[in-house]
């Protein structure tokens, strides 16, 4: 069985290479590791070594020819081994032997191959109807050209973002890659070296709101917000006294100053949050999560393996039912000017008069950038497509052993307060009248008190709040 010499991939975005020079002729004896040819890509010239020892036969890519990555450009035969006709699908046809001189066969083959035949063959090899096992012998590996489906817009975006289309999952018919698939992939790859399948070492941005002692209070904001939104609330906690805990607010993935790469799934977000806190020397903490941040807080409490959550307060958390205000999510990410953002922000409050200039300015500061809005729209599309909450985290509540409280505004117009109904009996639920989606703003002092009491109860029980699921 001859060894095939393939045109290798020498850099990531290479799809074909040009044969720049052959350093051997047909019939030459080569040793494994010996330089046999050079290829030129758009970026560099590379020297390629023989993959095996033997005799070079059937060079089928002349100098100057561009060859797709993964195609065989020659074969290395053992001495005396009969030539195999690689073009014959039957696989059994042998060109060598008494009837035909090996050199003739080789010559015929190299000279009759035109660029057109290469293209045709390459396509045929990749065609799904090709069931001949010998086809695999013809084309070296799965790196050969496959019938990739992608729209022109997707191809353009992939070029612009320097992404490889074959690595992007298509959402269209027959797996067709569309523009939004590329944009999603681009979002996930924003930070170099942070591919989604590698170990998550995503570092989230955080701000210290107060230095303190003991297990800190970690605050997780909601969709389209960022860590600074906790500043007034943290002062309310400080004013209240009763705890010396430090306070830390974290920007969720794709929010504020945090990178977007861990925003593809809740699992990645949990991993990123856990790693970020561990990196900051935090192994135990109290968690407060609002809305989308509530879902993350809940999942982290249940699933983080190295981080111990001592108490958990969920403010109008996502993940407890399918409904959400889809128009609000779209409104936030569609608004191209401040004036069209304001009516949506008003939806957050039970009393719209509570929406002040400062709140609008802070929100607009983040949402002004079309890139941020695009990123957020993708987060929304992942977790809340068509306004439907894809996260169903209710079951996680059952096994939590730390003190858990759920706080909700009765007039919440973003996530309905009825999602607080029917929770397990060990979860305390607080419903605030005259309060909308932002209990920590509209009922600042009361929420601060409940959070501090919750933290205190955790210390009193002094239980290991580790959760045993998964």
């Amino acid at each position: 069985m001859p060894t095939e010499v393939i045109l290798p991939r020498v850099d990531m975005d290479m799809t074909e290479g040009m044969i720049a020079a052959w350093h051997v002729d047909e019939g030459d004896e080569v040793r494994e590791g010996m330089l046999i040819f050079e290829i030129e890509t758009s970026k560099a010239t590379m020297e390629i070594d023989a993959p095996a020892s033997g005799i070079i036969r059937q060079i089928n890519a002349p100098v100057g020819e561009s060859v797709p990555v993964g195609r065989a450009v020659a074969w290395i035969y053992a001495a005396g081994e009969a030539l195999v006709d690689h073009r014959e699908r039957g696989g059994a046809a042998v060109a060598g032997g008494a009837s035909m001189h090996p050199e003739e066969a080789t010559q015929g083959q190299t000279q009759t191959k035109t660029p057109q035949t290469y293209a045709t063959e390459a396509y045929e090899h990749a065609a799904p109807s090709d069931q001949n096992p010998h086809a695999a012998d013809d084309v070296a590996s799965t790196d050969g050209p496959e019938p990739l489906r992608a729209t022109p817009a997707a191809r353009r975006l992939a070029r612009e973002h320097e992404l490889r289309l074959v690595e992007i999952a298509g959402s269209g018919p027959h797996g067709r890659v569309a523009a939004q698939d590329v944009l999603r992939a681009a979002m996930l790859e924003e930070i170099p070296g942070a591919a989604s399948n590698s170990a998550p070492h995503t570092r989230l941005h955080s701000i210290t709101l107060r230095k303190g002692s003991g297990d800190p209070l970690v605050l997780l904001h909601g969709f389209a917000a960022e860590s600074n939104s906790w500043r007034p609330f943290s002062q309310a906690v400080a004013r209240l006294g009763g705890t010396e805990a430090g306070m830390l607010a974290v920007d969720l993935p794709a929010h504020g100053k945090s990178p977007a790469e861990a925003a593809g799934s809740l699992e990645e977000m949990v991993a990123a949050l856990e790693q970020t806190l561990l990196d900051a020397g935090i192994e135990r903490c109290h968690l407060v999560g609002h809305s989308f941040g509530g879902a993350l807080a809940l999942a982290t409490s249940a699933q983080a393996s190295r981080l111990e959550v001592r108490s958990l307060a969920l403010l109008a958390p996502a993940g407890l039912g399918p409904e959400s205000n889809g128009a609000f999510l779209r409104g936030l990410t569609d608004a191209t000017r401040r004036s069209s953002l304001v009516p949506w922000l008003r939806q957050l409050f039970a009393d719209p008069a509570r929406l002040d200039e400062g709140f609008v300015a802070t929100a607009w500061q983040q949402l002004e950038s079309p890139e941020v809005r695009e990123r957020l729209a993708m987060v929304a599309d992942t977790f809340f497509p068509d306004g439907t909450q894809m996260l169903d985290l209710r079951h996680l509540l059952n096994d939590l052993t730390m003190p858990v409280r759920v706080l909700w505004g009765q007039q919440d117009r973003i996530l309905p307060v009825r999602h607080a109904d029917g929770l397990p009996g060990h979860i305390a639920v607080h419903r605030f009248t005259g309060v909308g989606h932002l209990p920590y703003v509209e009922a600042e002092a009361e929420v601060a008190r409940v959070v501090v009491q919750n933290m205190a109860s955790a210390m009193a029980v002094n239980t290991s709040a580790r959760v045993a699921i998964r």
């Binding site: 729209t151 022109p152 817009a153 191809r155 353009r156 269209g172 569309a178 523009a179």
Partner: protein, 348 residues
């Protein structure tokens, strides 16, 4: 669009007066355009079958016979080839004839004069003569007039160098394009949709033109570009209103002129929406939609396409007489809505 046409229409636009705007029907707007033209220019006269005392098969010429007399509103015998020959000759020798074909289908009888004579003369005579002939064609289906009186043959003529082909969809454009056609040095064919004759819309009084070769963006949108001609532009707008309820924001381009065709308008819109639907009444295959799709594929718009182009055209059959089948044979509002849902990736 050729440069000389651009220049020409700009000159005409500069003369545009700002008169009062009233509601007129499409047919009234055409009649008014012809009356204004005859008042302004004594070279202008009308020819056609039954356009005199009878007022035209679709009552478009109406009382112009009474107002302008038999020398300027001329009934012709039932011979489209003969009539077209007279019209071409008159145009070449200094007149400005407007020739009404009773049904656009009968253009087939006058192919020699339209395609071999009118379209070619200026080129074959080295520019020493031209054929400033305006031809009007009641076209399209929906009136129960069956296979020989319901066709949309405009694409045939848009294939011929030397002809200009327009399809107004509003009373405003029907008047403005007819007056622009009269200003044009070349033969212009105006395909008027029979179902539109009674439709109403705002029409300014007095003289104005609508540039030949310039499309109109009837609705601005960002999700999908619908390029439509004639009555299909109207149906596309109604479809867009339905789609808006579903959160699909369609841009509707009324092509108005299929030769010359407004490439820039098509390209610019696709660059924004990334999706293209072509809607036209003529038989779908080898029709206007293919040209529009080719513009998308051959231009810089290509790199912006995010879904296969969809063509919605007439069925591949002679138009049926049965009213239900007749409807089914050409794109309707529901077809456009369904295509838009499909192209943006929605079901239902």
């Amino acid at each position: 669009m050729t440069a000389d046409v651009l220049e020409h229409t700009h000159t005409v636009q500069a003369e545009k007066t700002h008169d009062a705007v009233r509601e007129l029907t499409y047919a009234q707007a055409i009649q008014e355009a012809m009356a204004i033209a005859m008042e302004r220019d004594e070279r202008v006269f009308l020819m056609g079958e039954d356009i005199g005392v009878y007022g035209g098969a679709f009552q478009v010429t109406g009382d112009l016979y009474q107002r302008f007399g038999p020398e300027r509103v001329m009934d012709t015998p039932i011979s489209e080839l003969g009539g077209a020959g007279v019209a071409v000759g008159a145009a070449m020798t200094g007149s400005r004839p407007i020739y009404e074909f009773q049904f656009s289908d009968f253009a087939t009888l006058a192919m020699e004069q339209i395609v071999n004579q009118a379209a070619k003369m200026r080129f074959m005579l080295g520019g020493e003569a031209s054929v400033p002939l305006v031809m009007r064609f009641p076209a399209g289906s929906g009136t129960g007039a069956a296979a020989q009186h319901s066709q949309s043959l405009e694409a045939w003529f848009a294939h011929v160098p030397g002809l200009k082909v327009v399809q107004p969809s509003t009373p405003h454009d029907a008047k403005g394009l007819l007056l622009a056609a009269l200003e044009d040095p070349d033969p212009v064919m105006i395909f008027e949709h029979k179902l539109l004759y009674k439709s109403k819309g705002p029409v300014p009084e007095g003289y104005y033109t609508v540039p030949i070769g310039k499309a109109a963006v009837r609705r601005v949108g960002r999700d999908v570009t619908i390029v439509a001609t004639s009555i299909m532009a109207i149906r596309s707008l109604e479809a867009a209103a339905q789609l808006e309820q579903e959160g699909v924001d369609a841009e509707v381009i009324d092509l108005r002129s299929i030769r010359p065709i407004d490439r820039e308008a098509i390209i610019e819109s696709i660059r924004k929406t990334s999706r293209l639907i072509c809607v036209y009444e003529g038989v779908q295959q080898l029709g206007i939609g293919a040209e529009i799709a080719a513009i998308a594929c051959e231009s810089e718009a290509f790199d912006y396409l995010d879904a296969p182009v969809i063509r919605l055209g007439g069925a591949d059959c002679p138009l049926p007489y049965n009213p239900e089948l007749e409807k089914a044979a050409v794109p309707q509002i529901d077809d456009i809505v369904a295509a838009a849902r499909r192209i943006v990736g929605r079901r239902g």
